[in-house]
Symmetry: C2
Subunit: 189 residues, 2 copies
């Protein structure tokens, strides 16, 4: 058997995640059956589940991929920039993926194991947000009268609101002005 | 056949909505089968669907019921108070009902007829929010540098964020302080 290099493994993994994301976006979590995952990814179930234990793991891996991108943007430009980027990308595959995240809300409430795996992903973004705010505080651009933990949760609330707004297909026209308001609320007055 | 009074009809309708809300909260939109609706409401499908055309209509009627309560609270105390009330009631039947609203996000994006019926409900709350803000502006307690439409959408974004936060079972400990921040952001500085 020929040895498969790490690069090849990584490329295959990436290929699977890209197809899985599209499949979850188009059909939702429930609707993304193994057959549809095979079709969208272009690989057999054997090949897919050689890399990911099950559908949950595949879904969480796509979410972790998102979280990694978000953490990088948050570190450099803040959580409001993540929201602006989201606002600039309202094509069906983006909002569909957000929607599939809403679909698992029941499991997040009722399935502690699933919730724990999901929380690790959110915590990475939350930690990056707090670090970024701390740097902004030190730079004197952040308001100093409210604890950083509260400011971070305020931004996360806005982010969650944006996810729900976009995932339900509501109009985006005024949201840029709304995000300016969100940003101003955490800045030094 | 004895004539049924309007009061009796209203009481029956209310009884159905209460049971349906519990059923949607416990099992989600998809999980609320006709059999489970019968069990939770304590009436036969014939009796239930004499009052409501189908499951969609039942679901939307529960949502309209919510909207009516929200409109009344918004008119008197504002949308932030609606959020505070929600924060004070995090029992499973409340967060479960919020969760079932997330579950229909895909349909809101892909089924224009369903989206239209849902939107009427959101628009009533949005209109009440704008009216309340207008009165606050006239009373001099609202910031005057941002249009009311934007302030209203900012509050709706926070409300949506809270719905997603609670529906996914995340901790609520700091949210009161976060809501104070939301409220302060629309007030005159």
């Amino acid at each position: 058997m020929p040895r498969v290099s790490q690069d090849q493994l990584d490329a295959r993994r990436r290929e699977i995640l890209t197809g899985a994301r599209t499949c979850f976006a188009r059909h939702g979590y429930e609707g993304a059956t193994v057959r549809r995952l095979e079709e969208e990814i272009g690989l057999s179930r054997g090949a897919i589940f050689h890399h990911f234990r099950d559908k949950d793991s595949l879904f969480l891996a796509v979410a972790e991929d998102d979280a990694a991108t978000m953490v990088a943007t948050v570190a450099q430009h803040g959580l409001v920039q993540v929201m602006r980027d989201l606002l600039a990308r309202t094509e069906p595959d983006v909002t569909g993926w957000l929607g599939s995240q809403l679909e698992v809300s029941r499991r997040l409430r009722t399935d502690p194991e699933f919730a724990k795996r999901w929380a690790a992903r959110s915590e990475a973004v939350a930690a990056a947000t707090r670090e970024r705010l701390q740097r902004q505080l030190e730079a004197g651009v952040l308001r100093a009268d409210v604890p950083i933990g509260i400011l971070a949760q305020f931004l996360e609330l806005a982010y969650d609101g944006l996810v729900l707004h976009l995932a339900t297909g509501r109009p985006v026209q005024d949201l840029e002005a709304v995000l300016n308001l969100v940003e101003a609320a955490v800045r030094r007055q």
